[in-house]
């Protein structure tokens, strides 16, 4: 594809959604990935599209819009990625946990998130197999689920049909600029000219920023997911322990884990979630698998006789302030970053794409993108925006 209007580096869910958004705005978009579609963190994702796990904040605003955008994309491209408005149930068993959850739910409600409080009896109706010692929960009808690999693949497929293209197996080795503006990039096989580049490389976004002599402090946070063998339908919603929200915001390097459990369209049950800062260490840590199993059984004793079939791990990209990076580079104009979504990448991808597209095309973005701007890392320090 000669002289594309924009190049997106990274064919994960964020790159795919950004490419779709730009294509729909009339740009000819080239997507480049050193591997196949969804070969990075997207391929290890659970498929969460949540409005429940964020406090009122710019990120919650992003999440609410993004969730709706997923259903619009589903209609727009004709589905094919198991999108399901299954709803989420957040529970807590401790006095403090329940009180914190009540407060959070009430604040979220004021900010546009639909919440329904559940007591012991309505909780049992919503989740008949949940442990009998859980007495309080909040139902979030807005939470949804998809199959992330299929989502990225179907979106890229749509991008190709709308005048875009996807090149697999080329590694970007240099990002070229002239007088502080992007002119193109060079891979291990070709050189491409374009005035706009979007860095959607997730956990590797910092390395790619370096190729343009810029800076992004993105680091990996490892997570495991257990996959069970196909099971009877035991769990109706995404169900998770309120501790999950605290873990996301935590800065601790040690293992953080709390129960996140749901069924899938294919019948397997997915069990998460763990967070560790161990770089890109690839080993299979049985202790973590055991912890996840214990937490899941504690919440759903019926899982005792369900078999673990496989486990996989992925590396969530995160920035030091735990906010995604969405916006134009601090130094190089024409270079845009869309990365660092830390475990919420799938949920936040469509709205990320919309924010990038709005800023590139000069249209009004649906929210003020300033909190996500890469300029907050200018000069290698964290600068308040």
């Amino acid at each position: 594809m000669k002289n594309p209007d924009a190049i997106v580096i990274g064919a994960g869910v964020v790159g795919a959604c950004t490419a779709l958004s730009l294509s729909n705005a009339g740009l000819r978009v080239l997507v480049i990935d050193r591997g196949p579609v969804a070969s990075g963190t997207t391929g290890a994702g659970e498929g969460n599209i949540l409005v429940s796990d964020k406090e009122p904040s710019p990120e919650l605003t992003l999440a609410i819009r993004s969730r709706d955008a997923w259903f619009e994309i589903d209609t727009d491209i004709g589905g094919g990625f198991e999108l399901e408005a299954k709803g989420g149930v957040v529970v807590s068993r401790s006095t403090k946990g329940v009180s914190d959850l009540k407060k959070l739910a009430s604040l979220q409600k004021e900010n546009g998130v639909e919440t329904i409080e559940l007591n012991a009896s309505t909780l049992q109706e919503a989740e008949p197999f949940i442990s009998k010692d859980v007495n309080y929960g909040v139902l979030y009808p807005g939470d949804a689920q998809c199959q992330p690999m299929l989502a990225a693949a179907q979106i890229i497929r749509a991008v190709k049909k709308r005048g875009g293209n996807f090149i697999q197996g080329e590694n970007v080795i240099k990002i070229n600029s002239n007088a502080g503006s992007i002119v193109g990039l060079t891979t291990d096989k070709n050189t491409y000219s374009t005035p706009i580049i979007i860095n959607a490389t997730g956990t590797w976004a910092g390395e790619v920023a370096k190729l343009a002599n810029s800076y992004l402090p993105i680091m990996p946070r490892r997570g495991y997911i257990l996959v069970t063998s196909p099971a009877p339908k035991l769990i109706n919603h995404k169900v998770y322990d309120a501790d999950y929200v605290a873990n996301v915001a935590s800065g601790e390097a040690d293992l953080q884990s709390s129960a996140v459990i749901e069924g899938t369209a294919s019948g397997t049950i997915l069990i998460g979630a763990s967070r560790e800062r161990v770089g890109f260490k690839n080993d299979l840590n049985i202790a973590i698998l055991r912890q996840l199993a214990r937490q899941a059984i504690s919440l759903f004793p019926v899982l005792t006789n369900i078999q673990l079939l496989r486990a996989y791990r992925g590396f969530r990209p995160y920035a030091p302030d735990h906010l995604p990076v969405i916006g134009e580079d601090a130094n190089v104009s024409g270079l845009w970053h869309a990365a660092g979504h830390e475990g919420a990448g799938i949920g936040l991808a469509p709205a990320t794409g919309e924010l990038i597209t709005a800023q590139i095309t000069g249209n009004a973005p649906f929210m003020d993108p300033a909190p996500f701007s890469p300029k907050r890392f200018k000069g290698g320090e964290h600068v308040a925006v």
Binding site: V37, S39, R157, Q168, S229, I297, L309
Partner: protein, 461 residues
Amino acid sequence: MHNVVIVGGGPAGLSAALAVAAAGAPVLLIDSNSRLGGQYWRNSVDELENQNEQHFDLATGLLLINAVKARKEIEVWSEAQIWSATNDEGKNTLRVIHQGKSKIVNTANLILCTGAYDRTLPFPGWDIPGVMTPGGVQSLLKGHGVLAGKRVVVAGTGPFLLPVAAGVIKAGGEVVSLVEANKSRRWVSSFIVILENLSKIKEAFYYIKTISQGKVRGQFGQAVIAAHAADNGELESVDIAKIDRNFKVKKVKNIKCDVAAIGWGFTPDTSLAGSLGCQQVVAKDECVVVWVDSNQQTNIPGIFAAGEITGIGGSDLSMAEGVIAGIAAAKFVGCKVEVLKAHRKRRAKRQRFANALIKAYPIKVGWQLWPNDQTTICRCEEVSLGDLKFSVEELGATDSRTAKLFTRCGMGLCQGRICGRSVVDLVAKELNVLPTDIDRISAVNRPIITPISLGVLAQGE
């Protein structure tokens, strides 16, 4: 002196265990079945006279099994499933479920003899109840005393079809058709090898005699290419085709049967070796096997491998390799033993026979035209050939691993053991490329080796 841990109680594992014990080192033999013998020496009772003469070589098997049971240096764990195995700087940690209890085995010295299982090829109707593998029919007969059906078709390729057909006849069943895909003349080039292995010829003639007594004539250059169900959804008949030397279909006839035992050689189960990080390579028959040196040691010091996982070669070769692995492992832990020239000569002779088998019973690519778009390729997840093609043509999968992630092929309970090899070939065919070694090896990557209940996982250490 440390414990040598051996995984697998078939010909290789039994031989290795006896060799280590003879050298004076204690052995822990871990086997997943309830009775020792592996697949090859399936048995249901301890004395030969009580078995039907269904397996010519069972006498040797029972000899080894009883010898292992008699040696106090050998501790046997039966019904023991290893679900996770990791190697961390020379220490191997095996997590085992032994008769329902969670156990951990730590060892620096391991001999892997995890064997193989029937290789199958997909074709329309291969998932109908009544279509089985020769190994399955054999196991039902020898291990459980049950004849799988009354009108049996035996098909595929390889010498294993003979004892299976003979077994059915001896048990009173009717072999309505015995078809071998490859032509008999392929053996002519291996004349010297045949002379070297006359006992194998004697064995083959034993089966052939039984089969001809059952008034069955084996037919060459033919294959089962489709199966059909009766109204109740169970097997009613199969289509048997005359095929050319590339397995392309020429003429088709239909045969009524209630069981079809169809096998295309064997696939080694290298999951445990792979999990530990042992180097795997692709052999001449396209099997993924564990690399070993001339002492049966893998690329990881202290981990040895013997039997079918180092290359499909039958029970005699497995025994020869098991002995060498056992001696080498015993030496590794400090015993004063050496692998002798005689051991190596015997292994070499049997390796030559195994190589001749591979040459005589190849699988040609024409099989890839037998399935149609509706044919199930991944049985566990019900993924069809059409689904696989869609993942390549529309979703842009450019290798079998990605196609698997898009379709769930190979993600079901068997974790790709049945469909894995076929998926690699069929995806490569769609892409008009040759399958790469990386494709083949990644298809056997299974960090969780066998399903384990969450409750047992939660309780363990």
